[in-house]
């Protein structure tokens, strides 16, 4: 029997994992081998020392502290989720509004209307308009480019996406007006 095997057996012996025959074999070796004997004695006393160690318990009101932390986390998550959806929703809303204005502009952008519009508003809004014209032309170019390809579908998809975001936003905005549930909500 080799000492390294004995070391393994010592561990098993401490867990009552040896057969009677093996226990006898172990004892024979321990009586003869000083090094293994020392390891055995050390581990046996250490083992009983460990077994005598009590369970350490937390300070009073531990459960209350856990529930408090749980609710803090939930409130935090709700806030995060809520502000994220509001942000997404408003981005969707604004982009839909911009798109509507742009489309209207393109439809109305006929020479006659342009002259009327410019004659009436030019004194007041020449500068603002010139900026708008550049923006609108850019947008027009983009949209015309898009319309030459079958990408109107793309546009439609985008509108639907924006709509979805608005619905999400409305959902959160409406729910926020309800009292925040204290206990029975789970994320």
């Amino acid at each position: 029997m080799h000492c390294s095997d004995i070391s393994e057996w010592i561990s098993l012996r401490l867990d009552n994992g040896l057969s009677q025959e093996q226990v006898t074999q172990l004892e024979v070796h321990l009586a003869r081998c000083a090094a293994c004997g020392e390891e055995w004695e050390t581990l046996r006393s250490l083992s009983s020392q460990l077994a005598a160690e009590p369970m350490v318990t937390p300070a009073a009101d531990f459960t209350a502290r856990v529930l408090q932390r749980l609710q803090q986390r939930q409130a935090h998550r709700r806030r995060l989720y809520g502000s994220l959806s509001v942000l997404m929703g408003s981005v969707g809303l604004w982009s839909v509004a911009a798109l509507a204005v742009a489309l209207l502009f393109i439809v109305l952008w006929q020479p006659l209307i342009r002259i009327v519009v410019l004659d009436v508003l030019q004194p007041l809004a020449a500068k603002a308009l010139s900026i708008l014209v550049i923006l609108a032309q850019a947008l027009y170019a983009v949209i015309r480019e898009l319309s030459m390809r079958p990408t109107w579908l793309l546009l439609l998809g985008y509108a639907l996406l924006a709509l979805g975001l608005i619905v999400l936003w409305a959902h959160v905005a409406l729910r926020r007006r309800e009292p925040v549930p204290q206990i029975n909500s789970r994320f």
Partner: protein, 203 residues
């Protein structure tokens, strides 16, 4: 369905009162595991709370075929091992320490005699000298009285792996105790020698 399974089912539906019963039931087991793994009360308190937050959040992953106590110990073990790994990279920030102040006193300490206290500190130092994975099997073996198979379930390993890990852990502990003992005898010899020299000088 027994009472505990009922609480689990209720907590799963979001009933925090049922969950509170589960916390009451397992707080000592979880806290003790965290304390033995991390070696100090403030961190143990934080880790135990965090364990229960995770238990609540991952309750849907609990398989009712399994023992609930094993599952909860597994969650605590994973969290503590994780935390010890992170600790190697970054020590607790000041904020965390301040936030933990209310529970900073160790409730087990006041009634202890000095002797018991010394033995406790010795046990704690010995445990902390082990690598985390080895410490875990020792803790599960001695404080929870789990069999090899049960330990294997908690740490998601095999019975034979646990057997050899326990053996290695004990071997490390024995080595350390024997080394300390030797150092103790040496220093005692040194003291005697110095005393002898001093006596000689007086004569």
């Amino acid at each position: 369905m027994d009472q505990q399974a009922l609480w689990v089912a209720q907590a799963l539906r979001g009933d925090q009162r049922a969950f509170a019963y589960l916390v009451d039931l397992y707080q000592a087991a979880v806290y003790n595991l965290c304390y033995r793994m991390l070696g100090n009360a403030p961190e143990a308190e934080d880790a135990a709370q965090e364990t229960f937050v995770r238990v609540y959040r991952h309750l849907h992953k609990y398989d009712p075929q399994q023992k609930f106590s094993s599952w909860i110990l597994a969650v605590a073990s994973h969290y503590c091992i994780d935390r010890l790994r992170r600790r190697r990279i970054k020590w607790l920030s000041l904020d965390n320490v301040l936030a933990l102040r209310p529970a900073a006193t160790d409730p087990a300490l006041p009634e202890e005699t000095i002797l018991q206290h010394e033995s406790r500190a010795e046990v704690r130092d010995l445990l902390q000298s082990l690598p985390a994975e080895h410490r875990l099997v020792i803790v599960l073996r001695y404080w929870y009285d789990l069999s090899y198979v049960e330990i294997a379930q908690v740490v998601d390993s095999s019975e034979s792996a646990i057997k050899s890990r326990l053996h290695r852990a004990r071997k490390m502990l024995a080595k350390r105790v024997m080394a300390q003992r030797q150092a103790g005898t040496l220093s005692r010899k040194q003291v005697q020698e110095e005393r002898r020299v001093a006596n000689n000088a007086l004569l």
